[in-house]
Homo-oligomer: 366 residues x 2
């Protein structure tokens, strides 16, 4: 029980749900039951920088474990096998990973590859009968449909939805402590380096700063205000046409209108550092986060004072919670399923349209 | 010399120019020469809340002195006469203030009346041969022309242009410490109270929040970036149509583009408190002010650390400096003349047009 108590302390901000196996899909987790609950056994697809970060974070997890890898680079696979004791039978490449269907050691695949590849990869994972965790993805409808058809979860890697200071602001908002919500401001950006990276290729990234970092302000506007926007306006600025080719946005300002009358003012950029700020203003009080979506620790305050919830590695917290969502049917405070991801992408489409037309674009997120 | 030394300490951020009488216009100041320099003798027109604040601040001044009043309310005049020892011969009402022309005790009139009255009042003051200091005003061209024709100064009550932390940021920018300037953000607003006040009358205020408080973000964008904008887009939100009648704006978001590629994102509102923030971001560093334009003390920091310039009552600093601009031909670091005020008002016209058309409005500030 000691380790369970330790875990309870670590995830103090979340509610522990006792292990109830919910569906036949998770039946193979029975063999992986621990005193803390069933463990989600995860294969990571794409062994780049963020994949490494998730893998390292998962070492802190009690309810999620790295059990497999999918990569096109044999040398990377070898390194990961050694570091994380992954057996050969749990290693795949991009040709053969459909065989994961027959692997009882893997419950879910976390897809961490360039954006443009997600659609096909997610559909193949779903068809292999495994749950999917995915970073943002274009053409999300097909992914959502494929996962629904295969009766597997599709979750989006929204680590901020489990971050303790963020959740405290959401709790305060839900309890009316800010009064009527009036304004959200999100500034998301950094100065991008290497001009040859996939993030600066329209083909691989599906866009520019907006798809990569601006999306944090889009999603933040939604979870901080607690509504979905109904219109968007946007203005693009491009100061470096060599680095930022057509279709790859450098700097976009955008504004969102919400059904309750709140407005949001946001900035997405690959051209500036010193940005990572959220500000929520209501008739009775405010909240500020800065940094607001970096890997942490997040810092912030409200009209009542500094937020002091302890920092837990975001990716660890996310994987603990996603394990419970998938294996125990836990309902997260802020949704993290594929339909949520779809909403952010529809807003991005609206932003690009608003840039193109120069007008106000109505949004219908369904 | 002791009082001079004391003054030098107080206005440490400014440069003292030795008194040189520049023109026949200021010849009557000779009789008012002090060891600190010639004193600007000021009549205040409009004895409301802000007029009282300016009068009190001027008690700290060495180079400016309240010597007259103009008001339509005899009881107010009496109270001010007692408080500031103003003789009967220096008191005027709105019918007879043209006679100020014959009053050698008054060099300048500070017009602090509702916006819509400024034009006629300023023109009458100019025709009476007195310098004019004025808060923001619609139809500024006529005022600028009248003051030019009468060979008097027209200065706008830009107190922030003399504020020490603001000037330090401008110094750092001019010396390249922020690198290339990329982004400015200004949030200006407060929740307005009494629905019957002149600020909520289209006739008297000439607009709504934008004319009163949003203008701080407009002007701030210009002095923080150090350029004049070339385009504007804007989005209006009105949640209370009872309090905010047609033509009186409640909440407007607006975006400005600058010739050097910087963009600005601003909010103007009469609906929210907790706003008064400037943020300037460049390729090498940043500056933040919060509060940024309130009566102070202003607080702020840059990438190099906290700004520690001492607070001096803004209106006192402004009047000391304006005395030197008018009587000693001192050149301010950031211009405060009528043409500057005109630029802000042209931008406001552009914002209202952008709200109306929903499109991007090109600005030509000349």
């Amino acid at each position: 029980m000691q380790s369970r108590r330790h875990f309870l302390q670590k995830v103090a901000a979340s509610t522990i749900v006792f292990p109830i196996l919910a569906s036949a899909k998770s039946a193979n987790a029975v063999s992986n039951m621990t005193p803390d609950g069933p463990v989600l056994r995860v294969a990571i697809m794409g062994l780049g920088g963020y994949g490494s970060r998730v893998a390292e974070a998962m070492e802190e997890c009690k309810l999620a474990k790295l059990t497999g890898v999918i990569s096109g680079t044999p040398a990377k696979i070898k390194r990961w096998q050694q570091k994380y004791s992954i057996p050969d039978k749990n290693c795949y490449n991009y040709e053969n990973f459909d065989n994961i269907r027959n692997n009882p050691d893997i419950d879910a695949v976390y897809v961490i590859t360039p954006n443009a590849l997600h659609k096909d990869q997610v559909i193949r994972v779903a068809k292999a009968g495994k749950h999917v965790i995915c970073e943002k993805a274009k053409e999300g409808e097909a992914m959502v449909a494929a996962c629904k058809a295969a009766n597997v979860h599709l979750l989006v890697g929204y680590r901020m939805h489990f971050e303790a200071k963020t959740l405290e602001i959401i709790r305060m908002r839900n309890e009316g402590e800010f009064g009527k919500i009036l304004f959200f401001q999100g500034l998301s950006g950094f100065e991008i380096g290497d001009p040859t990276q996939w993030r600066l290729s329209k083909e691989l990234a599906g866009g520019g700063a907006m798809m990569d970092i601006g999306i944090y302000s889009i999603n933040g506007a939604r979870y901080m205000i607690g509504e979905d926007p109904i219109w968007v306006t946007a203005q693009e600025t491009k100061t470096d046409t060599t680095k930022f080719k057509p279709g790859v946005d450098e700097t976009i300002q955008f504004q969102l209108g919400f059904p309750g009358g709140a407005v949001a003012s946001c900035l997405s950029t690959y051209k500036m550092n010193n940005l990572d700020k959220f500000f929520l203003n209501g008739s009775k009080g405010f909240a500020e986060l800065q940094p607001s979506t970096g890997y942490g620790p997040i810092q912030g305050r409200t009209h009542k004072g500094e937020l002091k919830q302890p920092h837990i590695t975001h990716q660890a917290m996310q994987m603990e919670e996603m394990s419970q969502i998938i294996l125990q049917n836990k309902k997260p405070i802020v949704a993290v399923d594929g339909l949520e991801g779809l909403k952010d992408l529809k807003i991005i489409d609206g932003i690009y349209e608003a840039v193109r037309t120069g007008g106000k674009v109505k949004l219908s997120l369904g």
